[in-house]
């Protein structure tokens, strides 16, 4: 059975896949988005903490996050629609990033923020106290597991200070935001198929030609984009491109904890985002006056690479370990006996930087390896991926002469070659969700 022909098929209806569909449709492509799950953003996007922050280990990362920030500020205007299901919104909280040797005391981040003209405050340990409820600012580095007898014992020094970036926050509902983009894309002609699994990438005359579905349906298109998140490596293997990539992707299992705020603290409304590389955790205010706690992958924690279709969805000791790391910093933080939070997957690349690229199969494109840190960048990624597809499809060699993308809000150029599948592992990376 052969269905009607599309200009582009996007595999994966997460926040980035839908942004690519929307941007391609705006450029006149007839697109079809296919997702194995029942709706937009039902996969790993739903588990995203949706944090909009600017501290990345590379100048390119900082610049792209700043560009993305402006899209979220004016979300309905970007999408040119109001979703009847409701619109996700950006909530500004401010973000405080702890200085540490691990992040080079944030010197590279401050340099990038200066270059972009982004305001920030450099805080002394004393000044940090106004942003946290009754904190203990002693150092606990290096991080340890809970069964280590030295877990939670201060190691002598104090925290070295922090950088506070007021223009930071989070998006209210990542799944809803992805639905918002679906509605915007449908408005400009995109089609979506849910509960539909791709089982093969079709090839014709040495290039991508469409996809085969599990029920035997063949859908033809000259352009196929892999935005399959934690399943990205499986799609790459179908296309036969994985072996030719220098940087590869894998599914990593992660846990995020939710714990109540300390008594008398309205953290939901007055809390900030924190990134504490001394204890190896980040936090965000969460509904229900909770604190959401994620891991920054400290060296002592094993990385749990899994089969994205068969992994342990129960909480493990990791969840409590993360909560306890915040509890060291905030001694009034209550730790319930019953774990709350979520278990989900990252699509991690070898250096925790994303791959936004063509592949060695003409017509087959990659927006993968997002490593838990690209939700915020989805709108500009959608924009430059659509330009990259146009650029390559009109005969340019992106590997030799990479696309130079103009970021319209911050009026700067981004070398898309930075995100190449064939780069060397970027040693400047944090090798964590920080990117």
């Amino acid at each position: 059975m052969t269905q009607k022909k599309y200009d582009a098929i996007i595999i994966g209806a997460g926040i980035i896949g839908n942004s690519i569909a929307y941007e391609l449709a705006l450029k006149g492509y007839k697109t079809l988005s296919i997702d194995k799950l029942g709706g937009s953003g039902f996969g790993s996007t739903a588990g995203s903490c949706a944090i909009i922050r600017l501290y990345y280990s590379s100048p390119e990362g900082v610049a792209l996050a700043r560009e993305g920030y402006y899209y979220w500020l004016d979300w309905p205007k970007y999408l040119k629609t109001i979703d009847p299901a409701g619109m996700a919104y950006y909530k500004n909280t401010g973000a405080m990033v702890y200085k540490s040797e691990h992040n080079k005391n944030l010197a590279p981040v401050m340099e990038s923020l200066d270059a972009l003209g982004v305001g920030y405050l450099e805080l002394t340990p004393e000044e940090m106290k106004q942003y946290l409820p009754n904190p203990d600012l002693r150092s606990f580095h290096p991080q340890k597991r809970m069964d280590d007898p030295d877990f939670g014992k201060p190691t002598g020094k104090s925290i070295n200070g922090a950088v506070y970036v007021p223009e930071s926050g989070y998006v209210s509902d990542p799944k809803l935001s992805t639905h918002n983009v679906e509605i915007a894309a449908r408005n400009v002609g995109s089609d979506f198929m849910f509960n539909t699994q791709v089982v093969d990438i079709l090839k014709k005359e040495g290039r991508a030609a469409g996809v085969a579905l599990k029920d035997g349906t063949i859908i033809e298109a000259p352009v196929v984009v892999n935005v399959a998140g934690p399943h990205s490596y499986i799609i790459n293997r179908m296309a036969g491109v994985e072996d030719k990539m220098n940087i590869k992707t894998r599914a990593l299992r992660v846990e995020v904890a939710h714990v109540p705020s300390p008594a008398g603290v309205d953290w939901e409304n007055t809390g900030i985002i924190t990134s504490d590389s001394d204890t190896g955790v980040y936090t965000r205010p969460e509904v229900g006056n909770h604190v959401l706690i994620g891991s920054e992958e400290p060296a002592c924690d094993p990385l749990d690479y899994v089969d994205p279709d068969d992994y342990n969805k129960n909480f493990t000791d990791q969840l409590k370990t993360q909560a306890m790391r915040v509890a060291m910093r905030i001694p009034d933080l209550p730790i319930p006996n019953k774990d709350q939070g979520l278990v989900d997957l990252y699509d991690v690349s070898d250096d925790w930087y994303p791959i936004y690229d063509k592949s060695d199969l003409p017509g087959f494109y990659l927006a993968i390896g997002t490593s838990g840190n690209q939700y915020k960048n989805a709108p500009p990624v959608g924009s430059f991926m659509s330009e990259l597809i146009q650029y390559c499809e009109s005969g340019n060699d992106h590997d030799k002469t990479p696309l130079q993308y103009r970021m319209k809000y911050i009026n700067r150029t981004l070398n898309i070659g930075f995100f190449s599948r064939n780069r060397e592992i970027n040693q400047d990376s944090s090798f964590s969700v920080i990117g």
Binding site: G152, P260, F315, P331, P334, I335, N337, K338, D339
Partner: protein, 255 residues
């Protein structure tokens, strides 16, 4: 006064629970302090703070791993723990006999707490069986408690939201209900302190518990499959809102 809290190590109800051999669950999931027992520990710690020379002791019959649950009780305010270690699950009759033996070996109970039920077996029997073996009065689903010189004044919630008030002689056995208090969750310093508190381990067989003349065993466990039954409410916004309020009040009974 010595206040004993009988706590249970139960599977996390949020975990994906798998039934093995049709009569037991796969225990390779998170276990925790039975949520109703949290109310018991919180109340016991409160009484201790208002009663000079009192001590709170958490007692548990369970496998070695149940020490975690005792440590949770210690972090929430208990002073020390007693773990009766066993390698299988016992019914409420044997459990009550084992708890009694361990408590009597340890001291003289002025008050014994349990949760009003455990979230795994939901038997709601252990507090009564403890009362029976000690010959103490028992009240369950306790939502208010005042300890006076020689008696406890207790409010118990019955079904339908009715509350009865009882005067009970001491010592007595109390099954803590949700309405009793808001559990006081431990902080990091509480957890650090709890690690240093003593936990005595007693081997179940050393208690020489005699077989009860009767007993209960699980014959078969079956997972409950509950399908969602969505229903569309049609009409204008005002009608829909009124209908939702009616359903929440009359059908769900949550308003």
């Amino acid at each position: 006064m010595q206040i004993y809290i009988c706590v249970k190590h139960v599977p996390d109800s949020a975990a994906h629970i798998t039934i093995l051999d049709k009569n037991r669950i796969d225990e390779s999931i998170s276990f925790l302090l039975n949520p109703y027992d949290e109310h018991a520990v919180t109340e016991a710690a409160k009484i201790k703070n208002n009663t000079p020379d009192s001590e709170v002791i958490a007692v548990c019959l369970g496998k070695n791993d149940a020490e975690k649950t005792i440590r949770s009780a210690l972090a929430m305010g208990a002073d020390r723990g007693i773990l009766i270690t066993c390698d299988k699950n016992y019914d409420s009759m044997v459990t009550a006999l084992a708890l009694k033996a361990a408590i009597e070996q340890d001291g003289t109970p002025g008050l014994i707490f349990t949760g009003k039920e455990s979230i795994d077996a939901e038997g709601m029997q252990t507090m009564f069986r403890i009362g029976a073996v000690f010959d103490f009065p028992v009240a369950t689903n306790v939502v208010k408690l005042d300890i006076e010189v020689d008696k406890a004044v207790v409010d118990c919630e019955l079904s339908g939201g009715i509350t009865n008030t009882y005067e009970m002689s001491l010592p007595c056995v109390l099954g803590a209900g949700k309405g009793l208090n808001t559990p006081r969750y431990p902080t990091f310093p509480d957890v650090v302190k709890s690690k240093k508190k003593p936990v005595q381990k007693i081997v179940f067989t050393d208690l020489n518990i005699k077989d009860s003349p009767a007993g209960m065993r699980i014959v078969e466990l079956e997972p409950l499959h509950q399908a969602r039954q969505p229903k569309e409410i049609k009409g204008d916004a005002g009608f829909v809102a009124k209908e939702i309020i009616r359903i929440l009040k009359q059908e769900a009974k949550v308003l």
